[in-house]
Point group: D2
Chain length 366, copies 4
């Protein structure tokens, strides 16, 4: 399937434009019997809501999710979950300029070439609202992982030049930038202030950690766990790079430094002394924490004048008005977490039949 | 499909282990009428051959490819291409140590957990020989791209601490490290010498450029062109990071610096003044060069002693004997190029029906 | 993707239970630029509505469709179409008996084994309401086929022992059984009366004709056009058999009788003197009408007492109360048409790249 | 994936033409730890070999299979199985006539329209030799089913007007027509003699029974077990119809007659008093025997003169020389069995995660 679907067994299909009637997602392949409430989904969605801080757009979106199918008496039924959020703030008046010409750094031009057409109402399908479906589906995936003892959390690692220097998991939810370092968060806020004063915007880094990962998950060759994670993360708008474990730093390392020695933990189980690999060896989880990072480019919508061309091919200048985040990173933290959870849920379900003994365990009831 | 297949219309399925009877690939969905000779495939395969320099393993592999199906009178027929390389050097004697314990940095342990089993004969399915199928398929994809005016080339950007400082496309084939900078290549060779003397190995970076890319290719949301490229590249063994255009640097940039202004070229066609985006906007090609980079970790097989555990869970030490490249990067250059070509070929075929006028052009013969 | 999705490029994903909040479908991969109105979809849905005759259930369903995304200014945008019908009549009181035991001929038991669970509210996901999503998607597919000059129509060929003996396309819409033979329709109505009087139900046959089919569509081997049609049609609840062209009769024929001789039509184009093949040779359309037939079993919900077991495994008897069609065939006519249209739309889009000259035509704009 | 692949987890990809270098199949997704020998595969292939009776073509094919990968020390490793049969009898001289014009009942014309090309050497990809890959893969699938206690067998139910009137499973292998009724087999042989004397050919029916089927396998909606079986069977060349259980007869039945009452067997397990449904309810197996039938058209290659047109569009006459079976049914028996086994194996693996308790059983090792 193309474009709007992801996954092989645990599959999600998102739909909706920023200025249409709503956005949503269909999740198919979720096992029956998983406890699931609308509130769990809503809690995830609230984390990507704008308006939580002055660094995110002022559009008043309610983003109230409805589960339309697939849940009966508080548990999943095994049939598709359809989740829907109606768009409530659809003012189109700010977007006349966008109809006229191509915004630099946006998908207007490439959509136009592909479809002979671009939906100028705030980005259409390539708007940030598209991530609502991902996050709702990610909430379901996270519930499934939780039921298997797997926990994951993402956070902002850097905004512009400001990187975290300390790590406190509790701090992540304390600041509106989702940084695990209160001091760095303050500096990053000052940096964003200065960006806004200069009608400019900033990029940043998000990191995601998966704790309690089961070893033996993922497929060799093309469906390596890290390959599918890379696709999942790179498919988030504005992501320009993905790395696992030491990532790009590994290119500058040596085998003696980069290899993780195997050892035994207190319970006598096999583990690793270090985790340069980020929890994946040969495309298959090794039981250590999975660690990944995503690089986000700066918000392309800036209100200083920019050179561009009109849709009919005339050179022109554009000044983008309207309300725009100076950085997408804080709102994208939950999106990275969601896509990671979805990828792992699918890999866990796809890998159940890798060994004949497991196949017998499920189907041969004796 | 799991594991061993890649693509939606232009699909490849690889098979084979390093010490089985052979390795190969089935390419399905290649359009009929493409000129294709065994020599074209062989030329690609020769670029990944070991033994071209003293920095690659000494195993004497002939790697002579046979096209078993799908070509008739020098052209593709539209039916699957089956390509096969028999393994000729299958000495197993070096691998007794590997049968006993898990090599750090290798997939032995994770395979064992997944399958209840690991093929200790030189890595089995996770061996570098698995890339033979990818490269053969990439040769076919490159032919298809060439027929559409698209050219691509990859090269070594850095090895360990040595990065290129100048760029000459002609130089790439002149040195055994495939670097476009002769001086850097010399320094990198010295660096590799010192690694080998210390029984150590090195990582490195590969860059790939796609020139003449058609705009409007790729799908929004999950099958973004960059998302599928990220998966394709991250699925190559030893890759730990992928980036497009400015990649991770974009995380430290600002909107004013990172946005690429649209302009018109001499022929009045829309183009960009800069290319920070690396040729992809919103997941769809914009007609500029596609630029991507892959970070490769150091070869995990090093001959200094390493801590590990045996397959039965006893702490032990391993010294890996045998012939191993101190760096995988030079041999992986053609693999990165192949995976890029395969991804683009598939995206081009998948996107033919994005506009009704194109659908009519193909099917409505009037 | 499993279960709820169908297609490779033109893909549909349905969701919803008979007694949940609603049912719907997401259609992805529809080309941009196709004229599409809610009324066109609604007209298709109205053909499957109950209450059009006394032989269909009396539940008063409004089944008013909403297009939530993918259409802008009256044309498809190339992004997913989300279509939704809210359930308005969700009285659960009739279904207490179903919660207690397994209805013969229904999916209660097999769902229970699979999911550890069955949604006893009127069939849940295996209810006839699930076809609403198929029909809405089929309306879109039919629009696409129409734009390419392809027309299709389905009708009731027989109900119980009553088969059509004459054929008038205009008559199909004139009687509530969608039979192209007014006299047979009257007899079939009498047959259904007698079934109802005996608390019994009836099976029947639906035939579908595709006119103006483009030759060269479909893939050899597993994605033969007839193979995908067989799956599409057999996936409709209550279908127990599918045939193409002469179908089962071909098993009793000889080569001399069954082969269709090629000839030229008045315009000098290649055509066939007969059409025993039903428009498909080797899995690929040959330009003749595609002809297929589906066998529907009798409605399993009958109000005479039937032996069964309870969910806890006690022998018991069940009498199914409530409103049930004595035959599903008339309401399923549009479902067969829809699934045929969806399969053909997908095959047309998948096959655009089968020849290099067509690939060049679309991507090489000179 | 298009055309040459089938399945979601247990996936097969076939390749090869009748007159190329060979034919083969790659099986991916087979669980590790399954005992597998070349002899097991060969035994299946021998059942489709020509030359076993005077009713099958005289081409002396050796069809010796080689397993090139995926097996280590007599067991599957979880990595792809590549199986290959070289073509040994590639005389092309008989096929000059086919290069000139389109054979009635063959895929020559439709291939030519699709690919701009047809491989005139004995049918190319649409030859009966394409089924070798299916049968080899089916042998693997059958091994997997056997390990789960599931057995299946297919046989000839009718040839031309001669149907079986009695059933003895032992008899199936005793006659070259694979009929479970020795007397009917004799009559069918006489019928085939008369067909050959008249340069004519015959159709026939194959039936397949799956015994010991596990209930709860298959997905509702589009991936119904019967829908996937219908696709699998209809994808075999020459099949024009598929039915499950009572099939087309159900269209003429009533609910009271067609419903299968649930009851308890001696062990107190739920079973059905009758099996009109053929072991599948709502797309999910119910534990009864799965029963399906396939209708095969007569061999289109007959040596009496037939009207047709040349490839350049001139009316002409063709007489097909060479060696051709007067009926494909006996050789196709093992193909029907193979496709059924492949479909079931995939459904079993896909369905392992339908319930959270099963997911926990496999992944939560406590």
């Amino acid at each position: 399937m193309l474009g709007s679907s992801f996954g092989t067994i645990f599959t999600i299909t998102t739909w909706g434009e920023s200025h249409g009637k709503g956005v949503g997602v269909v999740v198919d392949g979720c096992p029956a019997g998983l406890s699931l409430q609308e509130e769990t989904i809503q809690a995830f969605l609230d984390r990507r809501k704008p308006g939580k801080s002055r660094y995110s757009t002022k559009r008043t979106e309610r983003d109230r999710v409805q589960i339309l199918s697939g849940v009966f008496e508080g548990h999943t039924t095994g049939t598709p979950l359809s989740m829907l959020v109606f768009n409530t703030d659809q003012r189109s008046k700010d977007y006349s300029e966008i109809a006229r010409c191509y915004r630099p750094g946006h998908a207007d031009y490439s959509f136009d070439v592909k479809y002979g057409f671009h939906d100028y109402r705030g980005g259409g399908r390539s708007s940030g609202r598209e991530t609502i479906g991902r996050v709702a589906a990610g909430a379901v995936a996270s519930q499934l992982l939780k039921a298997l003892g797997i926990k994951l959390y993402a956070y902002t690692r850097s905004i512009g030049p400001i990187s975290i220097r300390s790590f406190s998991q509790d701090e992540i939810g304390n600041n509106s930038l989702y940084m695990p370092d209160a001091e760095a968060a303050k500096e990053a806020q000052q940096w964003l202030e200065s960006c806004m004063q200069q009608n400019n915007s900033s990029g940043g880094l998000i990191e995601c950690i998966v704790h309690g990962m089961i070893p033996g998950v993922g497929d060799p060759i093309f469906d390596k766990l890290d390959a599918n994670l890379a696709k999942a993360i790179m498919s988030i708008g504005a992501v320009k790079g993905v790395e696992i474990g030491d990532g790009f730093a590994a290119a500058y390392s040596t085998g003696a430094d980069n290899n993780d020695a195997f050892t035994l933990d207190e319970q006598g189980r096999i583990t690793k002394l270090t985790n340069h690999a980020g929890g994946i060896l040969g495309g298959i989880s090794d039981g250590s924490d999975i660690i990944l990072r995503a690089a986000f480019k700066p918000t392309p919508s800036i209100s200083s004048p920019q050179k561009t061309v009109t849709c009919s091919g005339e050179p022109t200048e554009i000044i983008i008005h309207g309300r725009h985040d100076p950085v997408v990173v804080p709102r994208a933290v939950v999106v990275v977490e969601a896509m990671t959870a979805i990828t792992l849920a699918d890999a866990l379900l796809c890998g159940m039949g890798s060994r004949l003994d497991n196949v017998k365990k499920v189907w041969h009831y004796d």
